[in-house]
């Protein structure tokens, strides 16, 4: 076609489109006069115009049209790492999925005989040396904190053109998967939230801001529900260079935002207001994102849900999220308060530190645990005495369940006002019936896990994990034992502990007595490398002791004596012992007077010895004590 012709066509086309559709035919005919070919061309173009409109032709940008292609393209490159293939000293087992920036494989570390998660970074990401450097620094630092809720990174490596990160393998699902699967119970919500914040607390102490807390970055380990926060430092790969002066130049940034809406990247839904504006972020941005995650877990939906990113950003900046109560979800008022405080628009009005948020979550958890415990024991009693009483059901609703956003009418907000009275009744009944329960536990001591637990009684289960060694190398997979045996030298063992009750756990290794008959103690738990350094365990939380290594026996025959203390309340003497749980003191209690007091405490509470029931099928031993403090001495013999 000649440019002249094209100009003619386009001129008539443009004017015709300005008219009503029914007027166009006559207009075009008049404009083209005797030039039939011109008229046909214009008419055809007009008809194509309406057709294209109907078909939504090119409405979506090209990138959307080829999205599946790009994905399948990536699939092709993924296939390059097939099962059995060797990458450095890792043997690929299978693909686990695609995470933030790169595919993740399950692989075997052929040097250290362990399974790892291997993340392959895209070449162009890895090629950006400056960003990689900052990412590595932060990721390594976070990992080195040895916080149990932070994914441990083993190695950054290269093999040929492949850049990879080898990390601890977490057998489990992401919180995102979990959210898709089923609603999460309130107690679990708090538990997950607590562990995420514990990870953040440690990271923030080390001046690391995660910047991308979202359900995709939170893993829940299958076997024990331990939460692992992934991708610390990864945000360093997608942020503006730290050296950009504009970073701290708020004015320039805001100005930029005004002219270029959406100058942000990442998962907008979890972004804090300051982050969504491209302003400087600090630790408090992570607390906001955690607030969003908690909200989503409770409500099953996001607090801000604009349909496009710009709408979403406006909501994040301006809209107050609906209270749970307003949407028919009954939660403890304290949780409502915690979420609201995490989601304060102004960072200065938010939680200022992860620690503050952590304390509030732990206190809430403690209360929920207690309520649930009372409810359990009482509902059992009511179940035998009367039928399932109304008081118990009310408490059940509030303490352990949450309804869907369209919660049924009988879970209306007015119900929750009955709670304090109901709870009081329950406590009274529990107190009255406590004596009966004690005798029940004692009678049931021979059988596994009594169903009735009175708050003042304690129950604890433990089992051993054993790793055999041959010629200095691990031999076969570790196995589980219900209790202690006479261990062979070269065995390495771990002690695993859990309880259906929340409480304070302390474990001490008693060393030989000195001439004066005074014992020496080594603190094994709490430990700075486990459970955030705290003695407090949540309901059904499991801990491994030692947290990140194994007990090793020497060649000499002997017995290691471990004191297990599980108490409803924190134990003052043992809390003081915690100060020695550090690498410098190697856990040795170096205060003679404190040692005496610890010894006195143990002796005073060791009797009566807890009832012991060994379940060889479940492979665990359960200890029950009628006292509020359970003390048990566990002996690991070896020859």
């Amino acid at each position: 076609m000649q440019p002249e012709r094209w100009r003619q066509i386009s001129g008539i086309f443009k004017s015709a489109l300005a008219l009503e559709p029914e007027e166009r035919g006559a207009f075009v005919a008049a404009q083209c006069g005797p030039d039939e070919a011109l008229r046909r061309d214009v008419e055809r173009l007009i008809s194509s115009y309406s057709q294209a409109d109907q078909d939504n032709f090119m409405d979506e940008p090209a990138v959307a049209a080829v999205a599946p292609l790009l994905n399948s393209d990536d699939d092709i490159s993924k296939d390059r790492l097939a099962s059995g293939q060797q990458v450095s000293h890792y043997r690929i087992l299978r693909k686990l999925g695609a995470g933030g920036m790169g595919e993740v494989y399950l692989a075997e570390d052929t040097q250290l005989d362990r399974t790892v998660a291997l993340k392959i970074l895209p070449a162009d990401v890895a090629a950006d040396k400056r960003r990689m450097q900052r990412f590595k620094q932060e990721a390594k630092l976070a990992s080195s904190l040895n916080q149990p809720n932070i994914l441990t990174i083993f190695e950054f490596g290269e093999a040929g053109s492949l850049h990879f990160i080898a990390s601890e393998y977490v057998d489990g699902a992401t919180l995102r998967d979990q959210l898709r699967l089923k609603p999460i119970k309130l107690a679990e919500v708090i538990e997950i939230g607590t562990q995420v914040v514990a990870a953040l607390d440690a990271a923030h102490e080390a001046k690391i801001v995660h910047r991308d807390i979202k359900p995709e970055n939170i893993m829940l380990r299958r076997r024990d529900g331990v939460v692992k926060v992934l991708d610390f430092g990864l945000a360093k790969l997608s942020e503006p260079p730290a050296s950009a002066g504009g970073h701290s130049d708020t004015e320039a940034n805001t100005e930029l935002l005004r002219t270029t809406p959406g100058t942000v990247m990442g998962t907008v839904s979890y972004m804090s207001p300051e982050q969504a504006q491209g302003l400087r972020v600090d630790e408090r941005t992570d607390l906001w994102s955690t607030g969003i995650v908690i909200y989503e877990m409770v409500a099953g939906r996001l607090p801000f849900a604009g349909t496009t990113s710009s709408h979403l950003i406006v909501e994040i900046l301006e809209k107050e999220p609906a209270l749970f109560g307003e949407t028919g979800i009954v939660v403890p008022p304290e949780l409502e308060r915690i979420v609201a405080k995490s989601l304060a628009k102004n960072p200065d009005e938010r939680y200022q530190t992860a620690k503050d948020l952590l304390i509030d979550l732990r206190n809430l958890k403690r209360r929920i645990d207690l309520d649930a415990e009372i409810k359990r024991s009482v509902s059992t009693h009511l179940g035998t005495a009367t039928t399932d009483g109304p008081a118990a059901r009310d408490l059940d609703t509030a303490a352990t369940q949450h309804s869907t956003p369209n919660g049924s009418a009988d879970r209306g907000p007015t119900r929750s006002k009955l709670l304090p009275i109901a709870a009081l009744l329950v406590v009274l009944i529990a107190a009255l019936l406590a004596l009966t329960s004690w005798s029940r536990i004692r009678r049931g001591a021979g059988s596994p896990a009594p169903a009735v637990i009175v708050p003042s009684a304690r129950q604890l289960s433990y089992w051993m994990t054993v790793q055999k060694y041959r010629a200095g190398r691990p031999f076969a997979a570790p196995f589980r034992l219900a209790g202690e045996i006479n261990f062979e030298p070269n065995y390495q063992v771990k002690l695993n502990i859990t309880s259906p009750q929340a409480g304070y756990l302390y474990i001490l290794n008693e060393g030989p007595r000195d001439a004066a008959g005074s014992s020496s103690f080594v603190v094994l738990f709490p430990s700075p490398t486990a459970n955030d350094g705290l003695a407090y365990l949540g309901e059904n939380q499991r801990v491994e002791i030692p947290p990140q290594s194994w007990f090793q026996f020497d060649a000499e025959e002997g017995t290691e004596k471990l004191w297990l203390v599980f108490s409803a309340e924190a134990v003052a003497e043992l809390e003081q012992v915690k100060q020695f749980a550090n690498p410098k003191d190697r856990g040795q209690v170096k205060d003679a007077e404190l040692q005496m007091r610890v010894q006195d405490f143990l002796l005073a509470h060791a009797k009566p010895a807890p009832a012991l029931s060994r379940d060889d099928e479940l492979k665990q031993t359960t200890l029950s004590s009628p006292n509020a403090v359970l003390v048990y001495s566990l002996k690991l013999e070896h020859h």
């Binding site: 094209w6 086309f13 443009k14 489109l17 055809r44 173009l45 007009i46 194509s48 115009y49 057709q51 294209a52 078909d55 032709f57 090119m58 940008p61 090209a62 990138v63 049209a65 080829v66 999205a67 292609l69 790009l70 994905n71 393209d73 990536d74 695609a98 920036m101 895209p122 162009d124 990401v125 090629a127 950006d128 400056r130 995102r176 995709e216 997608s238 503006p240 260079p241 050296s243 950009a244 002066g245 504009g246 130049d249 320039a252 940034n253 930029l256 270029t260 809406p261 959406g262 100058t263 942000v264 990247m265 998962t267 907008v268 839904s269 491209g278 349909t307 496009t308 990113s309 979403l312």
Partner: protein, 193 residues
Amino acid sequence: MTDPAGAPHEITQLLAEWGNGNQTALDKLYPLVYAELHRMARHYMKRERQDHTLQTTALINEAYVRMVDQKNVHWANRAHFFAISAQIMRRILIDHARRNAYAKRGGAAQQVSLDEAAVVAEDGGSLLLLLDEALQRLAKLDPRRSQIVELRYFGGLNNQEISGVLKVSENTVTRDWNMARAWLYQELSGGAA
């Protein structure tokens, strides 16, 4: 900028040179922007469905903010950047589509008309290749309309932004887009003009 590596500064400088008519600046600019956009395009694709996908504009804006010295933001630079981003996005996407077509058929892409394309809906790539060819023909007839298509369809800009880049009124952009889109539709429907 005191940053020794000075990438943002370098890009700003190159954009300015390109704006002053130095075509070799474009060659230097290309790989820098390409790596960045490729990375982002992948990120964009990976995003899970329930997430709020950002628009392509936001993607490019983000690249811009990241790459360009923010203290020396001029509209002219931004316009250049958008224009060049759109070109590069086009190249990335076409490359992908082409590679895919080869991989699938072991040869050159077959002619596919719109009707067939609707049937083989998953094969957006073939359509894209045809569209790219048609767009090259349009560029010869009408460079401005072709550029509008590039900025909008490949670059993801809206009409307002395009009007800023090309320094024409938004109405003109809308009219030109309508015409170009109708013509491309016709071309792809198999009706040679």
